[in-house]
Each structure stands twice: as C-alpha cells, then as structure tokens.
C-alpha cells in the first residue's frame, strides 16, 4: 500500500496511485452497497421487516439483555404453547451473535444505539463486507480489475438487495458475506498453499455454519471442486492443504454449533465431504509413493493396492449405503431433499411447499433479480475457461450448481447472485481490458488524427479504472511471488531453486500472455478504434442500464417492510399500519399470559411485537401442531372453540384483506390450512371446501366453507360496511352475509379491518330448571354436538 518514498519514479508513483485509487473505489463500493439499501429507512422508517427478522430481533434483544449463557439455555415458553421451544439449541446463532457483539461494542464505546437500530443496519453493513469479499475472491480468480467490477456489481445486485435492505434482519444478510468469504479463503489457500489461510478458511466456515443452514452448499461444493481437480489431474499439495484442514477443523467447529451438533457427521449432507476426504488421502498417498518408488515398482504397487483396496472400499461403501438407506428420508432433511428432487415437497410436505419462497422461480424473476448479469454470465464462463486455473474452475463449478439450485427454489437465487456477479465482473472487465488497450495502443501513434476529445473524455474513467486495475495486478503478482518462492526455498535446495524459478517464470509468462488473451498477443486482436469506442460506449450504456434497474429495484420493489403498507391515492400517500395497530392493542390491553392463536405466519410477529404467547409460529418444526390450528380454522365454530379452548387460547387473530384489497390474507392462505390440517386429521377433507376444484367464498361456495371458522371470523358483520359484502380481493360478493357468532366475540378490529381479533367466549353457565323444555332441548343438542366434536378434537 505504501509507495516507496525514496524513489519517486513515475512507475512507482503510478503503482501507489493505482493502489490508493482502487482502495478508494473499494470504499466507495462499500458506501454504495450500504446506502442503496437505505431506501426502506428513507421511504418508510427504521423498522424490522417481514416475519423471520422479528424473531431474530427478539432473540437479539434477549441476548443483549440476558447474556450469552442464558441465550444458549433459553427455553422459550412464549411460543408453540404448550410445547415451547428450545431457542438456544434450534437457532442459527451467527446473526444474533454478530448483531449482539456489534451492539455491545458500540455501547462499550458509549455510543448508545438501540438494539433495534443495530439490527436494522446489520444487513447493509454486511452487504458492504460481502462486496469487499467478492472483490477479494474475484481478484484471486482473475485479477483486481475483475475484482473491482464484480464488487461493484454485487453491491447493487437486486437479488441480494431483496434480502439485505435495512431492516431485513435475516440470516441471509450475514450468510452471503460468510459464504463468499469462505470461498475466497479457500481459493486463497489453493493459490498460496498456506496453512495460515487454511485455518482462517475453517474459521470462516465455522462462521457460515453459525449463520445459515446454507452452509451445506459450501461443504458440498468444495469437495466437488476437489474431486474435479483430482479427476482432471490437477492434484497438488496446495489442494491438499486447502481441503484437508477444512474438513477436519471445519467439522469439529461445526459440531460446536448446537443446532448442527452431531449432524455434522451423521447426516448425508456432509457425506460427500468425508468421501472426498478419503479420496484425497488416497491420491496423496499414491503421489507420495510414486515419488519414492521407481516406475516399475510403482506399477506393481498399484496392482497390489487396487486389488486389496477395491475390496475394502466396496465393503465400506456397502455398509454406508445400508446405514443411510435404513433411515426413512435417506438421511436428508426435507429441504435438502426438495432441492434434489423438486417435486418432493409438494408431494409429501405441504408445509414446505406452502412457503412462497420455496417455489421455483419464473423466468421474469431471473431478469428482475439479475438483470444484465443473466446475459453476461456465459461470457464470464468463457473467460474463465480461456486459461483454466484451479480458481476459475471453482468459480465455474459454483455458478453451475447455483444455477441449478436457484431453479428449484426462488430463495436460492440469493446464492446464485454472487456467482453471477463474479462471472459478469470477469466478463465485463475482460471486455473493457481488450477495448481500452486497443484504444490506448493505437492512440499515441496516431495522436494527431485520433486524439479526439470525445474519445478521451468518454472513456477516460474506464481507462483510468483499467489502469488502476492493471497496476494492482502487477503489484499483486510481485507481492505473491516472493512468498511463493520463499516457501519453495525452505523446502528445496539452492540449486533446484534456479530451475524452479525458470519453470515458474515460464508458467507465469504463458499464463500472463494467455490471461490477456486478446491483449498480449496484440497485433492480431487490436480492434479498430471506432469499433472499440462504440463497444465501450455500448458497454457503459449496458452497465448504466443495470445501475438504473438496481436503483429502481432497491427503491420500489424491495424496500417495503411488509408490516406497513402504503398506497398512492390522489390526495397523497395512504398508510396502512394495521398490523402494528393490532399488535400494539394486544400488547397493551390483554393479559401478559394470554394465548393468541393465529395462522403460523403471524407467530413471530405476535411474540415479538405483542409479546403474547402463540400456538404456532414461523419455525414450522411441529407439523401436527400447525395442523391442529389449521383444523380449528377450517372447522365449524363450535368445534373450533373446543380445540382452541383445549389449547388455553383466549384470542384468535385473523388477517382479512377484503375491505381494502390486501391479497395475502388468511382467506387466500386458507387452502394450506385445509391441506395441512387434513394431512394430519383426516376428518378435514379438502373436497368439502372446493367447488369445481376451486376455493370459493361467493354464493357458489360449499356449506362447509361458509360455516368454517375462518370464513366467519373474516366476514363477521362485513356485509354492513357496504350493504353487499363485496370482497375486493376475491372480487366477488360473499356467499353468506348475515350470521352471528356464538362462541367468539369481536374485541378488536383495526382501522382498515386488516386484522381482526376475537375473544373466546367463556362457556355459558348450565341452566337448570326454569323453562325446562326449550333450554333442555338446546342444552342436549349442545352436549351431543360437543360429544361428537370431542372425538374430532385432537387435544382430548
């Protein structure tokens, strides 16, 4: 970084300038990554978004209040009543610990930020880190120019923005940084063969395991790459150093995380890494033996080992397969299985299928989330092949696998985004390299004619950028060289060194000449000035289009916190703050120990914002419990009351969008309640709710539908608003307009009717004597009903 002050020759100054320049570009990229995610704070407010972030926020609050030990031992009795949930053992603690540490650090410096503020801004901060990590990774693959381009692209890729805007306090926010950084350290280790980086790599992997379940992607991708290297004959001691410590240290560290624990060695997700671990040792042994034996002896040894080893291998593999096959899911978790077999979830686990982010993405969503990157990726892949190195083969493998995964689940688009950015960065920087070099090359010779100002000003920044990048590259290779050499020197004798160097030089020469494919072998590939000017202009236009799209996506598409909705009306912005209205009402006007039942989507928010005990929440670990709530919601009033009462529920919360046209309300989610409920309790039959294969709530609806609790709670007295009962989401008049509630009473409805809260009426006193006939009749019908429903009620 520091320029040698003694000899201010032009080139050293240029080097220093390039360094400082790229340093500032990196800082600016960080600022860009941070600030582009602040639209949500500016347009709305500094608030936690959506559902899962509320849980993370609540956990962080607990951590900052009670300390780390209480956090590990936390048994949460506010959720999954009456089961509870062991939070410390079932949560990925990376995000929480990160934000908690950040908060603690700031407060010990006497900067009094609230936990909420820290949580809100964790994601933007880490996306800045992620773009820097991308720079490092791409620099390892293709040099600093590509690194800077990739970092700038990642800083604003919409797919990543969608998960890391300010307030989106979710695991992914931190995990993407951890993912890229782990990959960087792996590549760095692979390039240097340094044990130091290998250790750092396993620590980064540990952080990733702490933060996100997606760590299995790393622990499968890296073995795949190692295997690829071995198969293509690229085995080296560097590869061994990059891989073996990662598996050993990484697995040990991963087992420290309570939520992973023994899964790190027991489940099939980790199986590949151990298999490759064995293979790389065998390969290493073979290479070693090859080194000490004469070729003939070696052949004999190979024959011997092959015959014995194959037998052993076969038995071991057979035992393993038998073990794995004995478990019903073949040792894979549901989500992983649905990755391997995209139809698995919809067949067997409706609860996974019911989450919209687990659906496969549509084509437009690729364009929305990646924009021009989708077209630049193939070019990047080609550029990676031109000199295929260990690092570039890794990146290729990364993009190929992540494209597949993103095609299965829309949420994994997030894993694809960094790969796409790296590829596009390589492609773009390569293209700029060729074009600007051909410009630069032709300009001095023909300066009288072609030194047109337009070209200069137009491509000035680009040229500058490239220059900086180039400087970096040269400086970097200079830096790397001595370290490599020193390593070698330690190993080998002085004489061998010379040869080594020569070899290496040749390597470097060929590499560098090839790496500048278009540019090193200049003469044939110099483009005409006009063509390169136009091409540069078009490329800049393309990138500008990307920037415009990203800013638009950040500002318009991905910044809504989803607990506050807005609509543009002629007389200004209209705010729908109904969710918080309801949660605030619950938290202030109900008893601390009251239980609130709602569909599981609202569980996290209810516990975090209203601080009330819920029956089910977004951590969908107990299917039966969720099915119970689904059953209650799809049962008639009386049966539902029985179920809820047996669960000690006092309030029932439903989300209803019919008045203002809020589409993701409970009626639209009702099919999943029926499906999940029916999956466990067979007396709920989906066809009962369907008319012509459709869920309808209009006059065509089935009587079961019109009598179920969800319908009644949603539309109670709805008809009185406009006289017709016109539902603006379903665009139809409701089927049953006038009805009374017998077992529930309305206690609160928000301003736009989006949240309605009902209280379970306490059971009526038994009436004896007086007006015997009518009362006894009614009571007998009630009791008979209750006896009938009792059978249905799963809690008795």
């Amino acid at each position: 970084m520091a320029a040698p002050e003694t000899s201010p020759t032009p080139s050293s100054l240029r080097n220093a300038f390039g360094h400082v320049f790229s340093f500032f570009i990196l800082i600016l990229i960080g600022v860009l990554a941070f600030s582009i995610r602040l639209f949500s704070v500016i347009k709305y407010e500094s608030v936690i978004h959506e559902f899962d972030p509320y849980f993370n926020y609540r956990v962080t609050q607990f951590l900052t209040k009670n300390g780390i030990y209480d956090f590990w031992n936390w048994f949460d009795d506010r959720t999954w009543y009456p089961l509870g949930r062991v939070i410390g053992g079932t949560v990925y603690p990376g995000l929480t610990l990160t934000a908690g540490t950040l908060w603690w650090l700031l407060n010990s410096l006497n900067i009094p930020l609230s936990v909420e503020t820290v949580c809100v801004f964790t994601a933007p901060i880490f996306s800045a880190f992620a773009s820097w990590a991308t720079y490092l990774l791409t620099k390892e693959v293709k040099g600093a120019g590509a690194g800077l381009t990739a970092a700038a692209l990642l800083a604003m890729v919409p797919s990543y923005i969608s998960r890391s805007v300010a307030g989106s306090y979710d695991n992914e926010a931190v995990a993407i940084f951890a993912l890229i950084f782990t990959f960087y350290l792996y590549i760095k280790t692979l390039n240097t063969g340094s044990l130091f980086y290998a250790t750092l790599n396993s620590i980064a992997y540990f952080y990733m395991v702490c933060s996100w379940g997606g760590y299995t992607f790393i622990i499968n991708l890296i073995p795949m790459h190692v295997l690829l290297c071995i198969v293509t004959g690229r085995y080296s001691s560097r590869l061994y150093i990059a891989y073996a410590p990662l598996v050993v240290l990484g697995t040990l560290l991963a087992a420290l995380v309570p939520v992973v624990g023994f899964n790190a060695v027991m489940t099939s997700e980790h199986f590949a890494s151990f298999l490759v671990f064995i293979i790389i040792h065998v390969v290493a042994l073979v290479y070693y033996i090859k080194g000490i034996l004469s070729p003939r002896m070696f052949k004999v040894a190979v024959m011997l080992v092959l015959s014995v080893g194959l037998v052993i291998c076969c038995t071991v593999v057979a035992v393993l397969i038998a073990l794995v096959a004995s478990s019903p899911t073949k040792g894979w978790s549901g989500r992983s299985l649905s990755l391997l077999d995209p139809t698995y979830a919809s067949k067997y686990i409706p609860i996974i299928a019911s989450v919209s982010e687990h659906q496969p993405p549509t084509w437009p969503s690729y364009f929305m989330d990646l924009n021009i990157l989708a077209f630049l990726v193939p070019a990047g892949i080609v550029a990676c092949f031109l000199p295929l190195s260990d690092a570039s083969s890794f990146v290729i493998l990364y993009i190929v696998t992540s494209v597949y995964f993103s095609g299965v689940m829309v949420r994994l688009m997030l894993v694809l985004a960094p790969a796409a950015c790296i590829m596009s960065g390589i492609a773009l920087s390569g293209a700029f390299d060729v074009l600007t070099r051909s410009l630069k090359f032709q300009l001095p010779g023909t300066s009288e004619i072609f030194a047109s100002d337009a070209v200069d000003t137009g491509s000035e920044s680009v040229i500058l950028n490239k220059d900086g990048a180039k400087e970096d590259k040269s400086e970097d290779s200079v830096k790397e060289r001595p370290s490599k050499k020193s390593k070698k020197k330690e190993k080998e004798k002085e004489k061998e060194k010379e040869k080594e160097k020569e070899k290496e030089k040749e390597n470097a020469g060929t590499l560098s000449s090839r790496s500048h494919a278009g540019t090193s072998s200049r003469r044939p590939l110099v483009l005409p000035v006009e063509a390169s000017v136009i091409a540069i202009f078009l490329l800049v236009l393309l990138v500008a289009f990307y920037v415009v799209h990203c800013v638009w996506a950040a500002a318009e598409a991905y910044s809504a916190p989803s607990i506050v909705l807005t609509s543009q009306s002629p007389d200004g912005l209209h705010v729908f703050d109904d969710f918080r209205e309801a949660y605030a009402w619950l938290s202030h006007n109900t008893d601390v120990d009251d239980k609130v039942a709602s569909w599981w989507d609202y569980g996290y928010q209810t516990t975090a914002m209203a601080n009330r005990t819920v029956i089910v929440d977004n951590n969908t670990w107990n299917n039966t419990h969720i099915a119970t709530v689904g059953t209650a919601m799809s049962s008639p009033e009386k049966a539902a009351w029985e179920i809820f009462n047996s669960l000690d529920v006092k309030y029932v919360l439903v989300v209803f969008g019919g008045l203002v046209g809020y589409p993701s309300d409970d009626i639209n989610k009702f099919l999943w309640m029926v499906r999940i409920g029916g999956g466990v309790f067979p007396h709920i039959k989906e066809p009962d709710y369907l008319r012509d294969g459709q869920y309808r709530i209009d006059s065509q609806a089935t009587p079961t539908m019109l009598n179920c609790l969800m319908y009644k709670l949603s539309y109670y007295r709805f008809v009185e608003t406009d006289g017709k009962g016109f539902d603006r989401v379903r665009r139809t008049e409701i089927g049953k307009k006038y009805f009374k509630l017998t077992h529930f009473e309305e206690v609160f409805t928000t301003h736009h009717w989006m949240v309605r809260i009902y209280k379970l009426k306490s059971p009526r006193n038994r009436i004896r004597g007086k007006t015997k006939k009518s009362k006894s009749k009614s009571s007998s019908t009630i009791s008979s009903k209750s006896s009938r429903t009792r059978k249905k009620n799963p809690w008795n």
Binding site: N110, I111, P482, K505, A508, N589, E746, V747, F748, T750
Partner: protein, 598 residues
C-alpha cells in the same frame, strides 16, 4: 398551635364564592374569600382544611391575595402554603395554612383567591359501560364551604361539560340552568358545616391519565435542547366491556364510542423541530404538526382509539433551540424550562423529569416552585468519558397547573465542548499513525533466513527495475520530443530550432545511457534479476536501435529541408525508416509492459 386555635375563634369570613369546574377530568375549585378579622388579635395565617378523601386527590393548591388599592385591582400576590397539623380539630381533615403577607389587624379585610385542583375525584358510575353507552360520572362535595371559621355568606356553582345531568342533590336554593348548577346563597354558616351533595352527569371528555411519564431534557451546547417524553397512558374513565365493533365505531363515532378519545394535542414551544412520535414497535404515522411564532401544536393519535380501561404507551421527542431556554448570569448558566407535560388536560400520576446536563458541568442547583423529590445520577452517552450529570426530579399527581418554569443552574466550561471532537480526531490520528508504523516496520522474526535475504534482494531489484523503467520512459519522451521538433519543422520551417532540439536530445540521451549503464551493471550482478534480465537487455538493444533510426530520420529530414530537395527519394527513405521506427516503438512498448507486469 395555641395561638392558631385562639385566632381561629376570632376570625370569620365575610363572604365566600365557590366555583367548581368539572368540564374536564380535573376538578378545579376556585374559591374567592373575603376575609375580615373580627377578633381582637392580629393574625398572620389562614387555615384551609380539606376532607381526607379530597386531600388525597389534591394535586395543586395556591392562594393569592388581591389587595384593593383604589379602583384598579392589582398586585395579586401568591401566598406560601404549608401543611399544618393543628390540635383539637375534627379528625379526617387535612390542614393547609396560608401565611398572609402582612398581619391582619382587628377589623382588617382581605380578599383571598384559592385555587385547588383535584385529580381522580370524578368516579365513573356505572363503572363498566359498553361501546354504545355514554360515560357518566359522579362528583361528591359539600354544598357548604368547609371551614373552621364562620361563613357569613356563600354561593356554590358547579360547572358541567354538558347539559346532560342524571341527578343532583336538591337542596334549597339549588338551581340547574343549562350546564351549571347553583347552590346558594347561604348565609351565616357555623364552622365545620358539611352538607354532602352528589352530582351525576355525563362527561365524555378524554380521561387520559399518564400512569408514568418520563421527560428527558438533554442539553447540548452545540445549540439544541432535546426533549424526549415517554408516556404510559390509560383511559381512566368507565371501563369498556363487551364487543368492540369497528363497524359501529366507524359508522357512528359519536354515538358508538363517545367515551373513547382518539387524539391528544401537545402544545410545544415555538420553533420546536425534529418532532417524532413512536412507540416500541416503530413510528406511528397518525400525527399532525402545525405551528406559528408563539407555539407549535402537535396532534397525536394513538394507534387505536382508547376506550375506557384501554392502555397504550408511546414516546414523543422534539428539539428546541438552545438560546430560547438557556441563559447566562454571573458565569453560571441556567436552564429555564417548563416542568410538566405539554399535553392538555392530562393527569400524570407519576412524573419523572430528567435534566441531562453536558459532560463536565459542575455546581448544579435546582429551583422548582413546588416541593418535589430530587436526586442526581450519571448517564453515559455519545462517547462520554466521565458521564453526564443528570438531575432527576420526581413528583406524583401532576396537573397542567404544574406547567411552570423551573431552573437548573450549573457551571460549564466552553472548552469541554471540544473534548469529543478532539478525542475522535486524535483517535483517527493514532489509528493512521499505527497503520503507517505497521506498514513500515519489519516484523520478520529471523533476519538471517534465506527467504528474508531473498526478499531484501528482490526489493532492491524491484527498485532498480523501476528506475530502469523511468529511464526508458524518459528516453521515449525524448524521442517524442524529437518527433515533435520534426513536425514543428514542417510547420514553421525553423531548421535552427530543430537542430537545437537535436543537440539537447543528444546530450540528455548520453546522460541517460550513463545512468542506464550503472543500473544494468547492478541488475547483471544481482542473481534475483536473472529472470528479468533477458527482457531488460532486449529492451535496451531495441531502444538503441530505435534511437539510431530516429536520429537517422531526423538528420535525413533536416538535411532534406536545408537542401530544400524535398524529393520523392527522401520521402520514401523516411517512410521506410518510419516503418521501422513504428515497429520498434511497438516492440519497446510491449517490452516495457511485460517488464511492468513482472
């Protein structure tokens, strides 16, 4: 005490006017007393008793005298009031005594105005109502003024918010007109007369009670007073039971939900800025702000309408310009700011005011016009080292009448202002210094190891190569100059200038070649430079060739120009040389780049 008793016997009131204002949740009792000393001794105190059930709700009590000087009523004066406990009086009475400014002699007359405010004195009845019901409250008092003195004449007026009255105690001379009930006038009432009256009436005003209110007043000498108020609010009226129907509430808000209140108005000082209104789960968007030069009005609406018994909590905050509230006198600074909440008609059960003074304030004194609990704390905020002194004032049962100014005096050195910026600056300075030291320091453990020596050598080679590159680029620059001189020649025809340029170029090239020699010598001697040396040598050769060609071209052109031959042959010769020159130039550039990349 004996004297008090004695005096009590000889005093009596000449006339007594009572007005009780029940239009809000506060009960405000205005009493005008015309006092005459009918005894023998002159006495300096007037006793004011209240029954216990009232005195526990008594939030505020003042007595002022209005001396009548001629026609103009003026110079009203507040009297100090203290709690006394005279002996021999009827029990379950609380006694207050107001000391007169000057003793009242025999036959002396005086007008006293007493203002008492009670909280929680209106009891909702029925205690639980549904959404559709109006809120009814009960007020109990005595029709006669409770006094240890003889009252000569008195009248009693009860002012109600609405003309709707369910019932009231009908005594003689009681009259209901509109929203006022008048009792009296009654004459010659003996001491300690007590006739209970009960008024049962509709009151739908906001019964907003802040269970707790914490006001934080933070002074920044950079020009801002930041006020943050945390409210914990409850609707203390009749409790709401049964269903809450949003439909009814929206369709007929003044019938179904008349007792609910939907908004509160805070009257903030003028020039209040950066106003916010939020609760623990985020911003509350239903608020309105407007202001003029005398005040700023903030209308806030809780997240949901508050029915009887419903609670909510929220925070409002705003900044005020410092110079409006902080003054200087005798080297001391004093803050002069109002005590209570800016909300109108709010009862505060427990008010805590925290004045956070800037770090480094000393000699803190507080003066508040009424008795309060007071202590000091420390608070650590933005980058504090020793913490900021906090003056905490606590008072229960606060009503809008307590919205008086109070003063906090302290000493503060202006230089302390720069403590934190300087700290930051020095922090970053030392960070950078540490970075510089780190990059320049050598942390190699073994100075004699082979790799370390190699690294040192390599560094030397690198600098040598950099110098070499510098020399080369200077050479190329001279070439460019020569070319330029040729172009000038064709334009201006000044052969002399061209020759001069040639001479200068020759001499500087000679110097450069000398430099080059020493550098090359070094590079050849160094083993580290072995791999780069061929390229360097090649470059040197090429450059030489280029130089020669260039000189050749130069002399040809100049010769041709001088001889004015300008024929085809020279042109073709030059062209052939030019081709070689460009080719050589390209090669040299290539080589330079290759070296650069190494």
């Amino acid at each position: 005490m004996a004297q008090l008793l004695k005096s009590e016997l000889v005093w009596w009131r000449s006339f007594n006017l009572l007005l009780v204002d029940l239009t809000s949740q506060h009960v405000r009792l205005f009493t005008t007393l015309k006092v005459e000393n009918n005894g023998t001794d002159s006495v300096s105190e007037v006793l004011l008793p209240f029954p216990d059930h009232q005195s526990k709700n008594l939030a505020f009590l003042t007595a002022t005298t209005t001396e009548e000087k001629g026609k103009s009523k003026s110079s009203s004066q507040a009297l100090p009031i203290k709690v006394v406990n005279p002996e021999g009086m009827p029990i379950s009475l609380a006694w207050y005594s107001a000391s007169l400014p000057k003793e009242l002699g025999k036959g002396g007359q005086l007008t006293l105005e007493i203002r008492a405010v009670f909280t929680h004195a209106l009891r909702p009845f029925p205690e639980k109502i549904t959404q559709a019901d109006a809120q009814l409250v009960v007020f109990q008092d005595s029709a006669y003024y409770l006094s240890p003195y003889v009252v000569k004449a008195q009248s009693f007026t009860v002012k109600l918010p609405e003309p709707r009255v369910e019932s009231y105690t009908k005594l003689e001379n009681a009259k209901l007109s509109g929203s006022e009930i008048k009792y009296g006038p009654y004459e010659n009432i003996p001491p300690f007369s007590y006739t209970p009256i009960v008024v049962h009436f509709a009151s739908n005003g906001p019964f907003a009670v802040a269970k707790d209110l914490v006001r934080e007043i933070e002074i920044s000498h950079w020009g801002n007073v930041q006020i943050t108020e945390h409210y914990n609010l409850i609707h203390a009226g009749a409790e709401s039971i049964g269903e809450f129907s949003r439909l009814d509430y929206q369709a007929r808000p003044y019938l179904r939900g008349a007792s609910a209140f939907r908004h509160l108005i805070a009257k903030l000082p003028p020039r209040a800025h950066s106003v916010y209104y939020r609760d623990e789960i985020g911003n509350i968007s239903t608020s309105n702000l407007w202001g003029d030069s005398t005040k700023t009005l903030l209308e806030i609406e809780p997240r949901y309408p508050l029915f009887g018994g419903w609670k909510t909590s929220f925070t409002i905050g705003y900044g005020l310009p410092l110079h409006d509230f902080l003054f200087q006198s005798e080297g001391q600074r004093f803050l002069n700011i109002s005590f209570g909440s800016p909300m109108n008609e709010l009862v505060i059960d427990n008010l805590i005011v925290k004045v956070i003074l800037p770090e480094g304030s000393k000699d803190i004194t507080v003066s508040v016009p009424f008795p309060i609990k007071e202590w000091q704390e420390m608070k650590f905020s933005h980058l504090d080292m020793v913490g900021r002194p906090v003056v905490v004032l606590e008072k229960t049962n606060v009503v809008p009448e307590h919205n008086q100014y109070f003063q906090v005096k302290y000493r503060f050195n202006n230089l302390s202002l720069f403590r934190e910026p300087l700290m930051l600056i020095s922090g970053f300075f030392f960070l950078f210094v540490a970075c510089i030291i780190y990059t320049h320091a050598d942390f190699t453990i073994s100075k004699s190891s082979a790799s370390y020596v190699a690294k040192l050598q390599w560094d030397e080679v690198q600098t040598a190569i950099q110098q070499f590159q510098g020399v080369m680029s200077r050479c190329l620059a001279i070439h460019d100059k020569l070319e330029a001189s040729l172009r000038d020649l064709s334009r201006t025809g000044d052969a002399q200038a061209c020759k001069a340029a040639r001479k200068a170029a020759d001499s500087s090239l000679k110097e450069l070649s000398k430099e080059l020699k020493s550098l090359l010598g070094f590079l050849q001697s160094s083993p580290q430079a072995a791999q780069i040396l061929p390229k360097v040598d090649e470059l040197v050769v090429k450059e030489k060739e280029l130089q020669e060609k260039l000189m050749l071209k130069h002399s040809i052109v100049v010769d041709a120009f001088e001889k004015r031959s300008g024929g085809r042959d020279t042109e073709s010769r030059v062209a052939s040389i030019q081709q070689k020159i460009t080719a050589l130039r390209l090669e040299v550039d290539d080589l330079l780049e290759v070296i650069d990349e190494i």
